[in-house]
Symmetry: D3
Amino acid sequence: MPTVYATRKAHFNAAHRLHNPAKSDEWNREAFGKCNSPHFHGHNYHLEVTVAGAPSAERGYVVDLGDLKGVIQERVLEKVDHQNLNETVGFMDGVLPSTENFAMAIWDQLDGHVPGEAQLHRVRLYETERNFVDYYGE
Amino acid sequence: MPTVYATRKAHFNAAHRLHNPAKSDEWNREAFGKCNSPHFHGHNYHLEVTVAGAPSAERGYVVDLGDLKGVIQERVLEKVDHQNLNETVGFMDGVLPSTENFAMAIWDQLDGHVPGEAQLHRVRLYETERNFVDYYGE
Amino acid sequence: MPTVYATRKAHFNAAHRLHNPAKSDEWNREAFGKCNSPHFHGHNYHLEVTVAGAPSAERGYVVDLGDLKGVIQERVLEKVDHQNLNETVGFMDGVLPSTENFAMAIWDQLDGHVPGEAQLHRVRLYETERNFVDYYGE
Amino acid sequence: MPTVYATRKAHFNAAHRLHNPAKSDEWNREAFGKCNSPHFHGHNYHLEVTVAGAPSAERGYVVDLGDLKGVIQERVLEKVDHQNLNETVGFMDGVLPSTENFAMAIWDQLDGHVPGEAQLHRVRLYETERNFVDYYGE
Amino acid sequence: MPTVYATRKAHFNAAHRLHNPAKSDEWNREAFGKCNSPHFHGHNYHLEVTVAGAPSAERGYVVDLGDLKGVIQERVLEKVDHQNLNETVGFMDGVLPSTENFAMAIWDQLDGHVPGEAQLHRVRLYETERNFVDYYGE
Amino acid sequence: MPTVYATRKAHFNAAHRLHNPAKSDEWNREAFGKCNSPHFHGHNYHLEVTVAGAPSAERGYVVDLGDLKGVIQERVLEKVDHQNLNETVGFMDGVLPSTENFAMAIWDQLDGHVPGEAQLHRVRLYETERNFVDYYGE
């Protein structure tokens, strides 16, 4: 069976700050610079979710992208869009909201919830146009 | 020998509808929603073709991108640009024109026709800015 | 009062062909080339709607972009997305679906329906990444 | 003398919330929805600054874009990048941070500070890829 | 008669340096910095050509974009693509190749050569993603 | 330990020509066409540098992107931006400046210089919007 990788993009925005509460304020300022600003800053995040599998004979789909969009909406966007990653997102509680950690947390939100037979393959998360991370679940 | 992956982008537009003629109209409406619209709809497709190989000592190329562009033009674009994927494209006869199936059919059009020593590595096909698929030939 | 111009983008796809039914098939083939293909082709259209006005003192908005999005959805996207501009779009009946004519028809769909005090200023319509038209209602 | 319009783009990110402190919390929730979220959210803003004038005979420039970049850096980016528009930006004190109001405030920061003979012509501010505003100073 | 503005994009690349031969080398280094580098540097230029007019009743076009593409190809791209703006482009002889001067020279190449009834309205020229100029012929 | 791939984009421009000095002028014209133009041409190059590693427990970073930006600046951009790849870039001496060879040379500039524990994973280099190459160091 051939494997095709299908990707769906989504967009949301959120506030955050980089701050490790186990460390002193001075350590945090040194470690994170302006990203540690106590009043928060924010981003338009761009998310790409890739799933892998064999296209079905009947529909020609690896996954129904409308269904996948619904899962991304329910399990990620409704929880993070227009939210504060340090304060109001349950699945980020206790997680330092770097792009890396945020992408891994999004993976955990989606893994096991891809509709049908396809497998989650990659989460790509852009924090800005110039910076992004990829996570493959391992 | 090092391996470099060289990618060339191309663009075309086409009409299609998602419809499985082995199934009832009702099944198709249920399975594909507005993508089953009997009067067709269409897309500006964006195609990325990636080939892999060692750069030649004399020219520094994995592949002459002008030659690769010519092959993509002849074997894909001339057959699909401004066409109807359900009705007027020979290599899509009997193929349900999902993005997945279309990308695999484009792979078959190109595989074995890459100029010179390089090997076809990946076909990426965007149906819209938010949806794309990748196929690696296996 | 200052004037600010606020723009909202939207996306849809549709099939069409360029064909003037008052003319012969030969004239149409000559006039429109592959855009006259009888089986249709299609595009991912990108629409930008710009409205002009003074930001309100209470909300700071020229227009509530959520409301504007709703009007664009109801008066344009629901009528054209995944449709055939030659066959299934009421407001395009009898209109040759060039990008120019389509943009003017979209203007007519929106003019007088912008929420609140703002005025419709411009409709910009991309047929492909390389081609777009602007219409200012005059 | 011919007039040429030269544009420089810049990028920054910031947190904000839409909240009118002269109104009740209930009014604000009704007026602004999720944009009123009390823990803030944020954006990657994209700013385009356009100046107009005649290219100089000696250098061929309407404005030295390096100098203009420096003015944008000093008068806008250093004050807003990684900041909170409601709390930590002096020139936004008492201003409801809608995209419209923010663009007009950026105009006021830049007007009269364009290097050389050129005149400030337009401030364009993208809050997201789908929403932007233009302000021409009148 | 309504006026519609139709835009066609084109792309080319060229080498150049900013250097005013009427001035000393020291003046040029001071005036242009690294853009004065004697071995040249280069850009992928992006050109947008906008024409204005009434859509024709028969074809619905302000201008046949294929014809306009041909004029841009013949009068601009064939003369500048893969060329050196200081040394090998006839219509740039004696012109300091700033983006402003280059855009005005491209205007002069196109003005009076737009196919049919449409009028040249604007030349927009991107030197980089962050810098562009507009010229309206006056 | 999970592996995350973090990517930083950078931009620069340079002049070059494709010319193999071990071959005749005629061979070069035949092999490279207009890319062999003796007066050079140029590009806005877009560079993506991807590093791989485990996010640190304390900072949540695979790599401090500010540090990585500094390394890219020092070891690549300061040597190539506004330069001539055939004449003024030390690490390109004797290297035919195809995109493939240039990407491999950039890899060699960066390999072993990634800050901290992360490993260089991929260099992606766009010569134009339509052409890019990837190199993984093997």
